[in-house]
């Protein structure tokens, strides 16, 4: 097939993850990071929720 020049300047799409689906299919996909394959991922949305919760609690 060779190198396709027209592909270089296209931007990649943001990775979006459904953690439940990833965990559900973990046995089928064993490539790459085990952590990612088993759904041990924290998304931007989860982090923002955690952040609000954590910052609302004061340290002693």
């Amino acid at each position: 097939m060779g190198v396709r020049k027209e592909i270089w300047n296209k931007d990649l799409r943001e990775i979006r993850v459904n953690k439940e689906a990833t965990r559900h299919h973990a046995q089928k996909y064993r490539m790459g990071s085990v952590r990612l394959a088993t759904g041990r991922i924290r998304t931007k949305e989860e982090f923002e929720q955690d952040k609000k919760r954590i910052l609302s609690i004061k340290l002693p």
């Binding site: 190198v3 020049k5 027209e6 270089w8 300047n9 931007d11 990649l12 943001e14 990775i15 993850v17 990071s33 952590r35 990612l36 041990r40 991922i41 924290r42 998304t43 931007k44 982090f47 955690d50 952040k51 954590i54 910052l55 609690i57 340290l59 002693p60």
Partner: protein, 216 residues
Amino acid sequence: MEFFDDIEVNIIKTIVKLYNYNKCLMLYAEDLTDETFLPPINEIRDANDHIMRVFAVVFGFGDTGKETEHEYIKSNLNAALSHVYRATYEHLDYIKIYQHEAIQNNLANIYPETLATVFPEYYRDINPRLVDAINIIPDYRKRKNIADPNLEQVEAYMAIIETTKKDYNEIIRMLPSLNEYQAKKLRDNWKRRLIDFVSGIIVILLGTAIYSYIFS
């Protein structure tokens, strides 16, 4: 190095340094939460894409569009740098929050009085540092100027993360002493309450006996 001019070499050096910082933060972030944070992974993937565009031009199978080769290389190296920079800030923000949570969780059952007595360094040094860390390390999404990566600033923030890591370890080291003191305090409080209760009963009984004696 003949492919790159001096400006490009400097950008590459900055990317390599920043990537190293980011990798340190990524490994620590995974230790802290046992999960991989997705936004920096997206940023690193985009950075890699821009670096590959540069190598494609260097090896003669890229597409520079209307730009000259060096204009194209510079713009893609700068884009890669911005992505690694954003990934670093994502990690800094992430780590400061979960460090804070780890400390909150470990101190959740410790009374302020226990901390002040057994671990005076906590209120004197550690607590103000932790509060500062949360306020000093910025939330990168609120920062508007991400186009001009400042390596010294990143190093300063990394130093804060490192100090918090040491403070956290010190808290963990002190936990057995804090728990022991608190358990002893609770036992003493129960003893005192029991003595007060028994004394109260004795006083009531004596009072009743005296009253009966006088008025019988």
